[in-house]
């Protein structure tokens, strides 16, 4: 995903235009941009600030406050590992080490081939089937190392087919 093509600009402007009249429009706008691009390009910040009559610092301050918003492109699959208590009780600390090793990255990093981004998350609401991870919008419960490896194999096959 490229940072500042004119196409991005159009998409960003469209998002802003369609949402700016909502009360408290900033979060919906940021969500809309990130949903489409996978992140919020730094070039979008002045555009948003201008349309909403905010300072760039305001907009940047909001983006950086929330864990969900990203200022850099992400991988094709965003993998969130739950680090909260119910998952801890079922061995998530061990699981997260294995996942980091398997993918060869730490939290907030993306694999070199652009396939996977790894993020921590504090509870997915699947605590009765812990440990849990989320891959894009799918939650996976009762996770084990071997189940995770199968999942990665499957995603890698799909990623290759798409290219």
């Amino acid at each position: 995903m490229q940072g500042n093509s004119s196409w991005d600009r159009q998409l960003v402007e469209k998002s802003i235009d369609s949402l700016q009249d909502k009360p408290g429009a900033l979060l919906p706008i940021l969500h809309s941009i990130q949903d489409q691009l996978g992140y919020i390009p730094s070039d979008a910040v002045p555009l948003i600030a201008d349309k909403l009559n905010l300072s760039r610092a305001d907009v940047h301050g909001v983006i950086s406050f929330y864990h969900h918003f990203r200022s850099k492109p992400c991988g094709e699959y965003v993998i969130q590992v739950c680090r909260a208590e119910a998952c801890q009780a079922m061995g998530s600390r061990q699981l997260e080490q294995t996942i980091k090793q398997t993918l060869g990255i730490d939290y907030h990093q993306t694999t070199l081939d652009g396939s996977f981004t790894l993020e921590p998350v504090y509870c997915l609401g699947n605590c009765a089937c812990s440990p849990s991870i989320r891959v894009n919008d799918d939650i996976h419960g009762r996770m084990t190392t071997s189940k995770f490896n199968q999942l990665v194999d499957k995603m890698q096959t799909v990623a290759v087919e798409v290219q």
Binding site: A89, Y122, A128, D137, I139
Partner: protein, 530 residues
């Protein structure tokens, strides 16, 4: 049903239920649904596949149900490789021979012993089907509300004794009275669907299994205080709940349960879902309002309370999902009916959520007053690993860790406060004897570092210092002096933080230290000690 009237009963499609709740999906429910459909075609069985919500018996998910003449029969947990044998056993006639056969769903002891009020429809109905909802008493409360008007609604909620289910347990009716009594052109109903507490999933279950109950509850709140705009502030970690809510809201608009002139009355109400963005503190009501206004989620100082100056400075009801979703049944059945459940000042039922290292994890709705031990043993059936339970954290990441001698305390807001613990949202997380309580104490501080809004020093800086001091204790560095320091730090955070984030982080930390002191000693085998 869509069968032709000419067909005989024997030819009617058999209803088969496969949940589409995210817990069921997380353990493969979609694949189960697809496989059942494929095999039904192969076996030439005439089935109608229904995607219901979950009953909350998550340890049995994916739970497949078949409608028989005697009622719905359950099989679970079903794996894809079980489906051929299910068809061979003729599970479509409710055959009891299959090893996964559980009998009539309603008779499964875990479910049969519950007192389901808020969750009466969960898992029974198709979540976004308004026909199903109305077939199960849906919108009766709303019709009553329209008939009796604002003050009578607020009185009913007050008399029911309902207290906020989001954690702080403030009486819901009193909050509504304040908003009703505050004159303003514009008022708002805000549903707190941030459900940030780990170990809790009851809000999610309502939104995914019975979203109309929340929509109805919010509409009634709007009628009660004269608000025509509602927002559901939903955490971004819940993509399925997001889809289901949007679907249900669209259906409600189509059928005149939202929008202008609801059910032909003078009352209009609009409802919109707004997504949060992964910040625990945005579950705190004033921080949530800042976030809804498009700002960083910094906690506001109170007063003014949101009931007087809330969203965009207007009088606002902020209530948890369960508080709002419980209002319809209170109006339908009356305050007295609701109030007769419970004990002391904790009236009605609470959705206890069994999670973590537990054999039978899931949602258990019961009147207040049951003990933790009963929940852990009778419903939870002990740990999944089969080892003894060592500690139980109740009430989310800011809740205390309870050792065995406290498990007989009745679950009641006041009784828990007396033992320096909290019921909170009703989340119960179980740990076996392998848990290292020093590590859990450290995590509580680390979580506060990660999630503090940063507005006040005791929380922002104190939590960072807390992690450091615990690390020193783990390293065996001046254990005694550092333990005193940790206690002192917790004391400061408790008394000088602006909100419960900094103010209650000491609960998990101090309960770990006080009840499990052996894990803070240099001999602690789990940390290696020194």
């Amino acid at each position: 049903m869509t069968h032709s009237p000419l067909k005989t009963v024997a030819e009617q499609a058999i209803r088969v239920y496969v949940p589409c709740d995210s817990a069921a999906l997380s353990v493969g429910a979609d694949q189960i649904a697809t496989t059942i459909k494929a095999l039904a075609a192969e076996y030439q069985a005439n089935i109608q596949l229904v995607r219901n919500g979950s009953r909350g018996l998550f340890w049995l998910e994916p739970l497949v149900e078949v409608e028989t003449a005697d009622g719905r029969v359950a099989y679970g947990p079903v794996q894809p490789e079980d489906i051929t044998s299910l068809f061979e056993c003729d599970f479509l006639s409710g055959d009891p021979q299959h090893p996964l056969y559980l009998g009539l769903t309603e008779k499964i002891p875990y479910l049969a012993k519950q007192q389901r009020l808020t969750f009466q429809r969960a898992g029974i109905i198709e979540p976004a089907s308004i026909e199903d909802y109305t077939a199960y008493q849906g919108f009766i409360g709303l019709k009553k509300a329209l008939a009796v008007g604002p003050q009578a609604i607020v009185d009913e909620v007050k008399q029911s004794g309902l207290r906020g289910r989001g954690g702080a347990a403030f009486p819901t009716g009193i909050k509504w009275q304040t908003v009703l009594d505050t004159p303003a052109k514009q008022k708002y109903i805000v549903c707190n669907a941030d459900e940030g507490d780990s170990g809790s999933f009851a809000d999610r279950l309502v939104m995914e299994a019975d979203p109309f109950s929340l929509i109805e509850g919010m509409t009634i709140a709007g009628i009660a205080v004269g608000a025509n705009q509602g927002y559901i502030y939903l955490r971004s970690e819940y993509p399925h709940a997001h889809q289901m809510l949007n679907k249900a809201i669209a259906v409600a608009y189509q059928h005149g349960y939202l929008g202008n002139h609801i059910l032909g009355s003078d009352f209009s109400f609009d409802l919109e879902v707004r997504l949060g963005a992964g910040a625990y503190i945005c579950g705190e009501e004033t921080s949530l309002l800042e976030s809804l206004e498009g700002k960083r989620g910094l906690v506001r100082a109170k007063p003014p309370i949101p009931a007087i100056e809330g969203l965009f400075g207007q009088p606002t009801i902020v209530n948890n999902v369960l508080s709002l979703a419980t209002v319809p049944i209170i109006l339908e059945k009356g305050a007295a009916y609701y109030e007769h459940f419970g004990m002391g000042r904790s009236r009605g039922t609470l959705a206890f959520q069994l999670a973590g290292n537990i054999k039978q994890g899931g949602l258990v709705e019961l009147a207040f007053g049951i003990s933790l031990r009963e929940l852990l043993e009778e419903y939870g059936a002990g740990t999944l690993t089969g080892r003894p339970i060592k500690a139980v954290q109740v009430g989310g990441p800011l809740g205390a860790y309870l050792p065995e001698h406290q498990w007989d305390t009745p679950l009641d807001y006041e009784a828990f406060m007396q033992i320096d613990a909290m019921v909170g949202h009703g989340g119960i997380v179980v740990f076996d004897d392998k848990v290292d309580m020093l590590e859990q104490a450290r995590f509580a501080m680390e979580f506060c570092v990660e999630e503090s809004c940063g507005k006040c020093t005791p929380c922002r800086i104190g939590s960072t210092r807390g992690v450091e001091v615990i690390d020193k204790i783990r390293a065996g560095d001046n254990i005694q002096a550092n333990t005193v320091l940790l206690t002192d730090l917790c004391d400061t955070m408790t008394h000088t933080s602006l909100c419960a984030m900094g103010g209650m982080t000491p609960y998990p930390v101090m309960s770990a230290l006080n009840h499990f002191p052996e894990d803070f000693q240099p001999t602690n085998p789990k940390t290696g000690g020194c």
